[in-house]
């Protein structure tokens, strides 16, 4: 039962950009927790989490937040035909998934926005006021 296993992406170190290495890695530690895959970006004010989920209904995707953790759950179900009707079958036709991601700084959980477009889910997570960088001007006396 590693269903509720916590997942701390930021403790895994920085992303790797060598595509060959990625392929090896994806075979190496493949389990149900690794679907779907996330890309995460950050700017001064917010985080953006994106994930490719082609062919879904927005109503089958559930995004929720607890403290600094964003959970993305859903069920993917494409039309399923008899095996002999297929010439090629490569797409994932059935999958229920649940992944979460813990962000490194406090977030404003009330203003999270999720958008689903062209098969990509993007979740915008604003940082909490106290986590935004501040510049303070110091007067010289």
């Amino acid at each position: 039962m590693n269903f509720l296993r916590a997942w701390y992406p930021f403790e895994r170190g920085l992303p790797r950009f060598n595509p060959f290495e990625r392929v090896l890695e994806s075979f190496a530690d493949r389990n149900e927790m690794d679907f779907p895959l996330f890309n995460v970006g950050e700017d001064k004010n917010e985080f953006l989490i994106t994930t490719e989920l082609p062919g879904m209904n927005m109503s089958d995707i559930d995004v929720s937040v607890t403290n600094r953790t964003i959970s993305i759950k859903g069920e993917m179900k494409h039309e399923e035909k008899k095996e002999e009707n297929y010439h090629i079958k490569e797409r994932i036709s059935k999958a229920s998934f649940s992944r979460h991601i813990t962000l490194p700084v406090p977030i404003d959980g009330g203003s999270i926005k999720a958008q689903y477009k062209d098969g990509v889910l993007s979740v915008t997570v604003p940082k909490a006021e106290e986590a935004k960088p501040k510049s303070i001007s110091i007067a010289i006396e």
Binding site: F10, R16, D43, G55, H87, G119, V120
Partner: protein, 142 residues
Amino acid sequence: MGNNKCCEAKVKEEIKDMEGTKPEEVEAKELDGFDISFSPAVDILEDGDLVRLNMNLPGVAKEDISINLENGLLKITGRMKKSMLEGYNPILQEYREGSYYRSFRLSDEIDAESIKAGYKDGVLTLELHKGEKAKRKQITIE
């Protein structure tokens, strides 16, 4: 069941996956986006006289998909114009983004005029109909 197997083998000749072939005229430098880096996942299934192709092109806008049929070669290109994370500093990258290309060789049995395409939620759907040629013609010597 024996009959089914026979028909299945025949059907496979109608649409042949040309995976691994390079898009000759679609040079990477022509693309005003990412290089072509992916062969998209596809399902091809048969439903009577209809052959349906479903292809995953997540992240590609409808207007950036081109479908081209020339001399029986069906070429599908999906261009990724910009990264979803543009303007952000990437801090985790589990998947790569890029443009898509895949081609298929169609047999004479497919009626090229009747191909219909639709795109929704990152999935391209093509409907290919078996045309008149699919019905074997008997030629008599006069």
